[in-house]
Symmetry: C2
Subunit: 169 residues, 2 copies
């Protein structure tokens, strides 16, 4: 567990650092649907825009990770949140993901969401699957061969879900 982290809402001044992390995370083609050649415009639209709340985690003044929180569906499904997380690969193993995940669950609860859903967790991304299970998520669906992994070929993706009743707001 990293205890030197500060979390705050992301702003556009964070974008150069966020773009560096984004690019590093998708470079492997092994964990996100984004093609490694995704443009900076597409990437920034993913993190900033109407209905998107993004947070960054800082070690000192350095951005080392980020998450976004949105409604997973509009209108009659908007009580379920969706979130995405990216951590600078050079700080992996220091608990940044856990800290971001826990923070995001609290923020989702505060925002009034009743549950959180991940739509596309790549099954071969064992670290992510284990992290979300540790944070209370269960696999509620398996999408067979839904992800074209850069080295493994077609692999499954999981839908993961968690109610927020037990999260303190």
């Amino acid at each position: 567990m990293s205890d030197a982290l500060t979390l705050r809402p992301a702003n556009i001044a964070d974008w150069p650092a966020m773009w560096t992390i984004f690019h590093a995370v998708i470079a492997g083609g092994d964990s996100y649907v984004f093609d490694p050649s995704t443009s900076e415009n597409d990437a920034s639209a993913y993190w900033f825009g109407p209905g998107i709340v993004s947070w960054v985690a800082l070690e000192g003044e350095r951005v080392v990770g980020m998450y976004k929180l949105v409604a997973n569906q509009r209108d009659l499904g908007n009580h379920v949140a969706n979130a995405s997380f990216m951590v600078d690969p050079t700080v992996h193993g220091r608990g940044v993901g856990v800290t971001l995940g826990k923070h995001c669950l609290v923020e989702a609860k505060r925002a009034g969401f009743a549950a959180m859903q991940f739509n596309f967790v790549v099954a071969s991304n064992h670290g992510a699957v284990k992290l979300w299970q540790k944070l209370g998520f269960t696999i509620v669906g398996t999408l067979p061969r839904a992800f074209r992994h850069a080295t493994l070929g077609l692999v499954d993706a999981y839908v993961m879900y968690r109610f927020l009743d037990d999260i303190a707001d």
Copy 2:
């Protein structure tokens, strides 16, 4: 099975009829996430736009149903299609949904998709669930209490999936 149907790509001249159907389908708040008060602008953006292929079914010159076909994910997940269907409630029971569904599977195969995924089939919408099962889809996930049904309260939604290997293109 309706045999008097003609299917063709939708164009903007079809929109008044499509909007009437859209509004009738979402009015009950029991099958789609759209709030019954969804604006015409939001509705038209759902059916027409970049990356969206929409078809209409006609009885004579009357539009009685429609579907849209898109990629369910971008880039490394874009081999899986997503589709949505709406049928004029006044023609229910005459096979329009089956005809639209079969046509959509062929079009998806022609477009090069390897599978089709529905992200949010309301579990209490038994007619839809049975229709998709009849057309080869299986329930690969259950999203607990993910839909706020107008009369039943919180109900589950299903993720349904089907490979397209057996579809003739």
